[in-house]
Symmetry: C2
Subunit: 243 residues, 2 copies
DNA sequence: GCCGATTTGTCCGTATGTATC
DNA sequence: CGATACATACGGACAAATCGG
């Protein structure tokens, strides 16, 4: 259980919603009621609720209340709104996963790489390519560029394991922000070399820029997904008139 | 200019970041400094900053500061994190846009429709199909199901215009929450009938469940995009250990 | 249409905890 | 260790929207 109070309240409310304790389409108890139940301040309850709004569990309306809009679909193979490693996703969905490194070499950012990744021209990088297998079938081709100055001791052997675990545990680098762009691209010969696309001639491509806790972009990864096992979710809340 | 203080501060900070007033990779002024500058409370500054974090402009770190991670790429043809109508998107990107209704008829949700849309079986709906043209080329096939009880007077003529404007202005229905799922699907004969896919044999499909202010899902729309003009953006922030 | 009770939205001030340097 | 910075939490005040009488 998390130490922070607002996360405790958030978790409990979420669990109640998922378990059907609050009827769908109905109002949750009012903030004042929840204040009494959880013995906390109004702000703390409000923070928990705002996280539930962000996650698409509830919807609020001034003068009315907090409405449960949970629908238990969400059997996604890939979840949005958070940074999740390939391994974490596979574990959550109960699939076996393996990772193979098919390329690893130092390189320098030229104009083309810079334009694509956002690294400055001339930056010293590692180029890393990995294949992710789900239940024994190659499903994702990962093309990464890593800032060498952030991880000078990186080797192919380390990349074979969990890159993020290395960065966090060995280098004490906690990943904070990630900017993602999603597109659909025609398959390249390289895609076909590694992935069995079946009928598809396209891939779902997620371009990911990852920033460490110092605000330095240290990783650009293009994840090229077999379309059949790709899914992305998102919730949006409309603001009254936010230009 | 928005009336709310936190939005004013948010807008001003965002504009300064976009205009390069704060160096990229450097810290913004501390919260206490901003409190003095904007003559407000700590909470208000923090709220503005938290919105900037959500939008991928800055990143915060306890004990350190608020770091500018803005990168002026973002020339996307489709923006995430908010609910934007086709018309709004086209206007923003300077493209001409037209909408054609190619099908409009009442129907009832059967098992298949219910499973796909999330409407209950037996619900009375309108089935609506529209084509969106960008600069004269058909780019999006929209397949919608609308809850008839929420818009009993809807006609094909109204659907020819702006559906959302009708809902908001005529019915006083303000849209609040939208749940989106993105996938890549093989083109169907129907897709090929309406869209010129060129080399692609897939489409980018955005399934959208829209809730009105009463918490009732009133619209399910599947937007089937020509892949070449589709792009989706997202920012994610990793929490320390949020299970 | 008005009024009052309820509920969420905004904003303030303060105190304490925790991470960074 | 101390100074600084962000993170969490509390309590209070008023505004704005909703709903029922």
């Amino acid at each position: 259980m998390p130490r922070q109070k607002f996360l405790q309240i958030y978790s409990q409310l979420k669990q109640r919603i998922e378990s059907g304790e609050y009827p769908v389409g109905q109002l949750l108890p009012s903030e004042n009621t929840l204040i009494g139940e959880f013995d906390c301040s109004r702000n703390t309850v409000r923070r928990a609720i705002s996280e539930l709004v962000r996650d698409g569990y509830v919807q609020t309306r001034q003068g009315w209340g907090v409405c449960n809009i949970f629908q238990p679909i969400e059997h996604s193979s890939y979840t949005m709104g958070m940074i999740e490693s390939f391994r974490e996703t596979a574990r959550r969905t109960g699939q076996t996963s393996t990772t193979r490194v098919v390329a690893f070499e130092p390189c320098t950012a030229d104009e083309s790489i810079a334009a694509q990744t956002g690294f400055p021209v001339g930056e010293e990088l590692f180029a890393l390519q990995r294949i992710h297998d789900l239940d024994g079938v190659a499903r994702i081709l990962n093309i990464s560029y890593l800032r060498r100055s952030c991880m000078p001791g990186l080797t192919r052997e380390i990349a074979e394991g969990s890159l993020y675990r290395y960065l966090e545990e060995e280098l004490g680098m906690s990943i904070i922000t990630s900017k993602r762009t999603f597109t659909v691209e025609l398959a390249t010969p390289q895609d076909r070399q590694w992935l069995d696309l079946g009928e598809y001639n396209c891939l779902a491509v997620v371009a990911n820029q990852v920033y460490n806790s110092e605000g330095v972009m240290f990783e650009y990864t293009q994840s090229r997904h077999y379309p059949g096992s790709f899914r992305f979710q998102d919730n949006a809340v409309r603001r009254p008139e936010e230009s």
